[in-house]
Symmetry: C2
Subunit: 737 residues, 2 copies
Amino acid sequence: MTFITNQKYVTFPSLLTSVKIIATLKELIIMSKSALHQIFNPSSIAVVGVSNDISKMGTMHYLNIITSGYRGKVYIIHHREKEVLGKPAYKSPLDLPEAPDLAIFVIPSKNLLPVFEEFGKIGTKHAIIITAGFRETGEEGAKLEKQLFETAKKYGIRFVGPNCMGVVNSHLPLNVTVLPMFDYNGKLGFISQSGTYVTQVLPYLHKKGIKFSKAISLGNSTDICINDALEYLGDDSDTGAIAIYIEAIRDIENFLKIARKVTRKKPVLAQYVGGSKGGAKSGASHTGAMAGPDNFYDGIFRQTGIIRAYSVEELYYKGWTLATQPIPAGNRVGIVSNSGGPATAMADTLTREGMEVPEFSEELQNKIKPLIPPHGSSKNPIDITFAIEIELMGKTLPKLVAESGEVDAMVIHGIMDTGFMKSVYNLIKDNITISYEEFEKIFFADVEFIKTIPEKYKIPVTVSSFMDHEDHAISELMKGDIPVLDSPEKAAWGILTLKQYREVREKKLPDFPEKIPAPPMLAEKIINSIEEFDEYHAKQLLKAYGIPVPEEYLAKSSLEAIEYAEKIGFPVVLKGSHPSLQHKTEAGMVFLNVKTPAEVREIFRKIKENNPVYDILAAPMVKYEREFMAGMIRKEGFPPCMMFGLGGIYTEVFKDNVTGCAPLTVEDAKDMVESIKSKKLLGAFRGYPPVDIEKMAEVLVQLSYLSLNFPEIKEIDLNPIVTVEGKPVVLDALVVK
Amino acid sequence: MTFITNQKYVTFPSLLTSVKIIATLKELIIMSKSALHQIFNPSSIAVVGVSNDISKMGTMHYLNIITSGYRGKVYIIHHREKEVLGKPAYKSPLDLPEAPDLAIFVIPSKNLLPVFEEFGKIGTKHAIIITAGFRETGEEGAKLEKQLFETAKKYGIRFVGPNCMGVVNSHLPLNVTVLPMFDYNGKLGFISQSGTYVTQVLPYLHKKGIKFSKAISLGNSTDICINDALEYLGDDSDTGAIAIYIEAIRDIENFLKIARKVTRKKPVLAQYVGGSKGGAKSGASHTGAMAGPDNFYDGIFRQTGIIRAYSVEELYYKGWTLATQPIPAGNRVGIVSNSGGPATAMADTLTREGMEVPEFSEELQNKIKPLIPPHGSSKNPIDITFAIEIELMGKTLPKLVAESGEVDAMVIHGIMDTGFMKSVYNLIKDNITISYEEFEKIFFADVEFIKTIPEKYKIPVTVSSFMDHEDHAISELMKGDIPVLDSPEKAAWGILTLKQYREVREKKLPDFPEKIPAPPMLAEKIINSIEEFDEYHAKQLLKAYGIPVPEEYLAKSSLEAIEYAEKIGFPVVLKGSHPSLQHKTEAGMVFLNVKTPAEVREIFRKIKENNPVYDILAAPMVKYEREFMAGMIRKEGFPPCMMFGLGGIYTEVFKDNVTGCAPLTVEDAKDMVESIKSKKLLGAFRGYPPVDIEKMAEVLVQLSYLSLNFPEIKEIDLNPIVTVEGKPVVLDALVVK
């Protein structure tokens, strides 16, 4: 793909190698968007693979579509039977009375193509291909997948899969999975490279009160991919937040652009499992996708404002919290509990990560005290101690706290009614005369007020409970889209995730740039003239991009060396210099604090004696404050990966660095600089002024342009980048062409 | 408390201030051990606080004791009623036909003492005091608590609480809580400073298949405390692992000794919530306990081999895995799954933390391949892809893997039968004639083989499932003590926790020392003669303990300074020295590379000019390799807290340090040194030899003796401790008396 700058064409190199689709990006996005709309909202459906054998997946998909309440026409295609499950079956798509909006395939891969093509012929434009046995099985499968893609292109069919488990739209409703859908009108959008996470989990999620708005299992993503789904759900008004399970992203460039736009509209949470040895290997067998290093994805997530999750459970419960709760305006959390342990654990979890649990005002405490036992606490957490007065937990106290203006978020532990009363009933049933049904109704808790808090007070609420959906009050809260988590810490983590998203929004990252400046003339000249870079020429290249380097000269004779040293001013540094010489210090090729022409002469002689091909680099002694590093590495399928971190001798010890994809905006680069663990170094430090973050960021931005301008550069390593009066200077540089 | 060494009495200072009980430690331990045995296994019980009001906690406690199957005699004490819940009630303990083994109190605190005393009079020796309203409510309550303790002492009564929720013994059985007990003969011992975590959670745990062996809610721990419970459960043969919820430990010295012994016998897992601002404040309101800094507890856990947990859910599911599964002999994990996503997520989680998911041998794969679909994977993870052939998942594949000798642990995802079949039945019920009960039986999975794996093959197994106890196969696995976790990552984390415990065992830490060497004569002399320490005397004190310091001299005249410099050999370092002078570099009081007597004279003049009271410290120039730091800080209630970490200018930037309680053994100290994040520095590094860990550890050991020998030393800070040819040398030292 190319972009026009004011001067000439500039190419994003790795994009060219990874994306080989003829249509332009814009066309593709528009196409797939409307395609996904139709796939989630088809006006009619045909299923291929339904039979009278109820143990077959296709049959289950069909039956779930029907029983989950899909209201459009559903046709059955069967090559032999005239009637399937008591409904008429059509031998071929060609026999159908109309071209269905969506075709679903659950037949063996070897039988797929002819039927697929027949749908093409009648004009069906959308498909979900559940069928496995393609790229993930090896070469033969990959060939078949290519044929499938080409057939689809030929007929203009857009499809999800193959090797996927289907989609869910709880609003239409539509349930193309093997398990029944229990919940409607949910708010969590889910994109998954594993079918299990959108299908087999439906009963699990139902019990947790978590409801998908739309969910999609991508499978091999031959046509419709993660980017299409992300952009579609980003615009979907039913979807409050998006959670993604990722084994590998194929088109990172577009992912970056789309994700950055979407996270400004709604929260996006992602789990990436391909960055470890075990995850990468297993993922390759699963969807045939090539994963990337874990730290690349850390960078991609930070750069796009995606919040990273480390388990599918986090995707669900944090995603659900993000989808249903408002962003807290500040960090003050009010805790209401009927147990000191959970309250303390929540306070601990919240304050570890920067939230506060401030003591309530005397005024508020004076309102609380008369309501709770004397051995309880009104401070915050409010601890009413173990009590069964559910109105207190379900209404009175949350109302006092919500209306106080003293909190920005609320967590509640201990609400329960029938879950507890059932056990009480079992204890006393021999002594009373009413039935359990009558008994439990007496204790039904009124939790309606809690449900109104997020909307009315703009305060997010999470509830911690060891009771579950079988408890009436808990089930009511779930129905009202209040996240109910089964441990105090999870309730706290839910709130912390909302804070994380607020921080994403506060970053105000601009769009991912569509074009970058053309290379400076001088840089092109250097690149074209130098085959292998030594330190001097590497720095000259950096200098052409405005990256600050010391005033340096390359001497070929002893006389030249002295002349340059005098020009710089004694004392100077002398270094042997040659493209083959990479670790100068270890090779004894760095001479610090050279004070006289005589010393220069002697060192020149010493260097040349054993290494006649070496030149001598003369540089000033730089008195510096801190050591950082920056660099670029490439990996197929990724834009140039830029790095920034702690430099000098501790580079390897702490591996304290962060990554980001080129091109970097100034905002990206500043964010990278400020994201290192040793960020304390950036501030005023041991009497040194703070690091000039803008200037440091500019180094990274220019380095990213350099990396994009010249795809022939394989690797860049600037280590150390020191600071002098807070400003960056590159003291050593390695450029590998 | 005092210990006799071969020379004289040595005192553990902080112990003296924190433990004020007359009985010796040994007596105490023996007493509380047998006391806890009786409390968990009482031959008869009296409950005070039962009434005909079933909403009262005491009534619930009583009814739960009865309905959970306790087989001994249970008496009811009621000050007014003659009959309670249809049973005869006694007005006072004095009216009872026998002295019950255990008395349980659930009456208001103001009414407690007289009845408590009456139990003392009739000879009852054990009590559980549920009643709250003591120390946690303030001064009045603290007074009452003291009276309670004194009354108990008077009559030799040992008690749990007050302000607790009771105990559970699933083996007797005995359930002194407000909720019914569903499970018997469990394996997880649970010690909690929150009642909720052993009582309100019972239905929650039941659904998760997690069963307590014994559980205890400690409340205010006025008498029986965490240490008693830990030691008791450490010896309890029904308990496979112990999980502890901690807000604060009062007697750390004994905790260290006991915990270190227990972790050699069985795994101990602990959550500590008192180390953050929110946790500390909330905990103080909850049980009135004073918490300590989080990093102290990190040190205490590492030093005792306790595995730290960060949520109560971790306490439960990791504790359950530790309690039921064998320790894997190696790191090879076999994964069996019917879904690629969970399999990949498990492989990712496992390999991130040092386990391996090795590809199976060709031999094994050839056995697997014919059993699974062509688009599945036989490599490891085995992915049979979505399938309902439950025998494959429940027996055939696990058997092949277990018998292969190619794995040390196994995780399985996807077992289910009725949970899934129920949804299938709902889809097809109109088309078939058999009832659900008949239908589901056809699909009952046989998971008996999996249950045998831990015992027969010494291979731990965890199962990941989105189905729960309502699924027949999952429920069978739960009954067989196979941990079933509701996410793939948790199944993996279970295995990783077992690996963590293996590493604890491999450390072979000796007992926590009962006595330490007496201080060297010279050290005592220095301490007695110096009021405020300057650097020189601080180092002399260290030197007395054999801690390596440079050859240094304190000069009071310019002539002396020159003499010393010549003795050391030029070039030297000169420093201003005075107890009031702490930040020498910042004050411009460090002069490096002093080369001549003239320079010495000049510097001496310069220092004295503005600071006539300063002496001049002459020291050799030390060419060093790395910078570490060590130190000691004190906090009331804790033994001296020793620190080791990265030194020099990065001390504050990375805060890379670990703690440990004095006295340190050599093993403790080595473990501390090797536990810093920057441990890469310890190995051969930039051409320097590796750090002599033994010698570095010896510095810490001696520093811990010094700290114990002289409680009057408030703080020690050795920064930097550099290495020269790998060996430690203390370059700067601060001792505050």
